[in-house]
Point group: C2
Chain length 279, copies 2
Amino acid sequence: MHEPNQKITSFSNPKVKYLVSLKERKNREKEGRFFLEGYREITRAKQSWDHRNPLIPRSYPEILCISPECFLGSNEWELIKALNLPIWEFPKAVFEKISHRDRPDGLILIGKIPDYNFHPNILDSFQDEIVLVIEGVEKPGNLGTILRTAEGAGVKLVIVTDPRTDIYSPNVMRSSTGILFTIPVYLGSTEEVLNALIKNKFKTLALTPEVNNPYYNTDLTGKIAIIFGSEQYGLSDKAKEISSDLLSIPMLGEADSLNLALSTGIVIYESLRQRSLNK
Amino acid sequence: MHEPNQKITSFSNPKVKYLVSLKERKNREKEGRFFLEGYREITRAKQSWDHRNPLIPRSYPEILCISPECFLGSNEWELIKALNLPIWEFPKAVFEKISHRDRPDGLILIGKIPDYNFHPNILDSFQDEIVLVIEGVEKPGNLGTILRTAEGAGVKLVIVTDPRTDIYSPNVMRSSTGILFTIPVYLGSTEEVLNALIKNKFKTLALTPEVNNPYYNTDLTGKIAIIFGSEQYGLSDKAKEISSDLLSIPMLGEADSLNLALSTGIVIYESLRQRSLNK
């Protein structure tokens, strides 16, 4: 598909209706398309397309929607040129209708959602590296924050199992600031994923407030997978049963639980700390 | 003031208008009243009123608004009885108008905001303890999450300096799950607070991505204050200048910053870990 660039000014143009329809998950899934908004987010995705990590599921950019009236800086045209995609251009009022933001910055990229289903040979190339498994996550904002933090802490792979949200949701892209495209993220079932990790000699460490075994007393170096449960329900029984060790984050006060993204950050940064000692 | 309990059924009742007006910060500040919603949140505040930590600014509960049609469990009446406050009772439709939630649980407490201005003698009782300073925080949800995490990690005092949000905002109460009432939280200016900490022999450790000095290579035990800047602007020059050390959180990937609450959690839990080694 290569369409010529188009200027679209009418709210009732079918392309506007199509783009607005992508606000709903069921339409994104039916179309198999993602909706990536924002200069920073698109720039990160582009880096990933340019410098291909073979472990990252291969997504395809297709259309760039722009509204120069909304641009915040002067670098937008450079990015637009470098992307080299068919362009749909809109006046500000129409772009605001399409956008998911209160103050859009004039850039939205539509692309094809990759096949991101987990398969065990993804694990073949792993040595002494850390894999993060997030089970049953409910809030896209939490998932995005987790991806951003995991990438910062040097996690090499994130596997989302049995989620209650969709991974290629615009909220995940936004809260991850585009990092969804720069770290390998796969989708699987808890049982399949944990069994594959164990078969590949990963230590599987699952976090739950039900034990009293502070994460920082455990060796978090080497080939490990760290598993977190959902915000509301925690880990599934299956995850607790299959994992090799159960760990906890100490809570000293009245609060009975930490935010999921926060818990994840605390434990993976402890792993980074321990790894830094071995260097 | 001790009013008799009242049943209020009309949307146009002045009490309804008063309660709705408290959705706006300027009205809460003018009235000097906070708006605490939810069974869990009110329960936590009550614990704090019952078991008085003299360092916690003394807030005063005044009115309990209830809507039994909205109750989710059967423990509400016990809490209502124990609170022993004047009760304003509303039908569900009116309560939903007053509530800040999509699905209210039938309990809102109105109380008097305490004097929570920082004064240096708050620091008199501190020995080898950790104090958290959050400068210029913008998002009440971040502040609430920080309070909840700080309390979990055993932080003894949180000082918010030059904030861009109000501390007794309903969003802080909600995202802290009521922990705002169970940990001492004060408000001051960065300069005044840091100088008071230094005078009281606190090591003042400020986090900034501008240095390369991983937080985990620093001794975070003893009498320390950890200082974080705002989401958008980071630390002020003043804070960097006054602090005794600048620390960073390593970031290994493309992402250039971590969420503020997450950064806070990572560093204070490292302090907790180091402290656990000394016991």
